[in-house]
């Protein structure tokens, strides 16, 4: 078996990438929590491993002379391309879910993308028979067809869409989110550059470092979240204030909820408070979230619903005083958004 140095280094890099990602999958308890987000993250990890396997396999077969090696290379290349396209598609869904935390939002917005992806996946799967996407010439060199270039364009468009989603989220929702795609994108970009300017393929290695970086970046944000409830802790306020100061969030109103019987009432509170709100648990029995003036009807409705839930709780638990109080605090005319937030720290 002949493997030249370029192939050997690429295989080495691909297997290193597999070791890195498999270790993350085995050791991280967080990505085995069986919620939709962790399932998407786990899928991304598996697709990176598949992509690296495809890349290593195709490089191993590239300089071999027996006839079956050309077929094996075609198989590995197909495997790699199928994984790569799926990876970009799942990454796009993952970014959307990180921002909106809604499966419905994904179903509403990504039906057409799903159809396009499925079309190209089918084309890739039947490619070894039809050669509709790419073929290998007499020296086993890769020869793409126009349809393959179209698929590449779609992949680039999906990646661009993730940037657009992130930009659009801030613009439309005027809301803070901790999710950043740069930890994933920068190593991939460096991997692409290395592949471009050297004789080796380093994209799977870039992907693996990217996914590790993304995981570490996510772990950092957990310090703002309370385990179990999904509420934010007080440290979130200082982060919110810093970001409001730098990119100008325009919070006009703070809703404060004070409860005496916090432990018994927590379940009702989680049920009644809108899911898309960042609820900050300031201290025992004190909750807070920020909104703008246009949402005052929502606040009134929330107040009524919480009062009803409190009354029902008191009826069911005789002698218990929930002591619920819902207050709205408005921003002063000349007060900046970050100063307004600092008032509650």
């Amino acid at each position: 078996m002949i493997i030249n140095y370029e192939s050997l280094v690429t295989i080495y890099a691909d297997i290193s990438a597999i070791i890195l990602v498999v270790g993350l999958m085995v050791l991280s308890g967080r990505i085995h929590t069986k919620n939709f987000e962790s399932k998407l993250f786990l899928t991304i990890c598996i697709l990176i491993v598949m992509d690296a396997l495809g890349s290593a396999g195709s490089y191993a077969m590239h300089y071999q002379s027996p006839g079956w090696c050309a077929s094996a290379e075609m198989f590995f290349k197909t495997f790699m391309e199928v994984s790569a396209l799926l990876l970009v598609f799942v990454w796009m869904l993952y970014v959307d879910y990180k921002l909106y935390a809604s499966k419905d939002h994904i179903l509403r917005n990504f039906k057409i993308h799903g159809v396009i992806t499925a079309f190209f996946e089918i084309m890739l799967i039947i490619n070894p028979l039809t050669r509709i996407m790419f073929t290998l010439d007499g020296n086993n060199w890769f020869v793409p067809t126009p349809l393959y270039h179209l698929m590449e364009f779609v992949e680039i468009a999906y990646v661009a869409l993730t940037f657009y989603q992130l930009h659009n989220y801030r613009k439309n929702n005027n809301k803070l989110h901790f999710f950043k795609i740069s930890p994933m994108m920068i190593p991939i970009f460096i991997g692409l550059l290395v592949s471009e300017f050297t004789n080796f393929a380093a994209i799977p290695l870039g992907l693996s470092i990217g996914v590790i970086s993304l995981y570490f970046s996510m772990m950092k944000t957990f310090r703002y979240e309370e385990m179990g409830t999904g509420f934010y802790n007080k440290a979130y306020l200082s982060e919110l204030s810093t970001i409001a100061g730098t990119i100008g969030y325009d919070y006009l109103c703070a809703i404060c909820i004070n409860i005496n019987e916090e432990e018994c009432f927590k379940k009702s509170l989680i049920k009644e408070i809108p899911k898309d709100r960042e609820i900050i648990h300031l201290e025992k029995g004190k909750y807070l979230f920020f909104t703008d003036k246009g949402k005052m009807n929502l606040i009134k409705m929330l107040k009524v619903m919480l009062m009803d839930a409190a009354a029902e709780y008191e009826d069911n638990h005789k002698g218990v005083d929930v002591g619920l109080e819902v207050l709205s605090v408005n921003r002063k005319k000349n007060e900046s958004a970050d100063d307004f937030i600092k008032r509650f720290m």
């Binding site: 280094v9 080495y12 085995v26 460096i190 080796f200 470092i209 310090r223 802790n233």
Partner: protein, 229 residues
Amino acid sequence: MTFNNLLNISDLNQGTIMMNFAAILLLAVIMVHTNMFRKRGFLTDKLFFALIIIDMVIAVTDSINYTLYFSSFNLADEVINVSDHLFCLAVELFMMFFLFYLASIKSEGENLKRKFILYSIPMIIETICIIVNIFTKFMLYIDENNNYVETKYYVIIYLGVAVYGFLAAFELYRISKGLLVVLIAVVLIVPLWIVLTPDISSTAFYYGIILTYSHICMMNMEFYGEVTK
């Protein structure tokens, strides 16, 4: 003109340089994402930071060596000589600090001090050997073609790493059996790599993988959970 042509690097050394570059990227990622932990000022966090820096030194010195092997550059042999000795020292130092890091997770006070003193002994012996080698060239030297040559006594370096690895396995057994199993799997793969790919050196990358795994594992422990408060 490609990157390799630009630096006139020997064809057989480009893979090592790429893997070291990947190691530096991985270490930079770990460094950026652990800044929050370092702010706590715990001994464990300081040791982890030291491990990142030492591994970066390994990656840089290894890259310098592989860039200059077979080079016609005038001062190449002197630079490789310094860089090679630094590399050997850093490889040992990494293992010692990794052991200190593991020991500091569950031990403290006098017990920890005793462990640190005990664990420093192999490092002191290795350092003496490396210093003696500068004058006697009994372990490794650079020949007239600027090629790196290891003698049979170079096994001392591997022995030092093995001793620290063995002690680290004991410490890990107390801390996280899951991490121990995964690291043993990695350690078993590495010798296979060395045999199959003698022209590619990726010590820094594999040390980077050990740091990544350790960080993932420790972040999920109650000990690291304190940072969320």
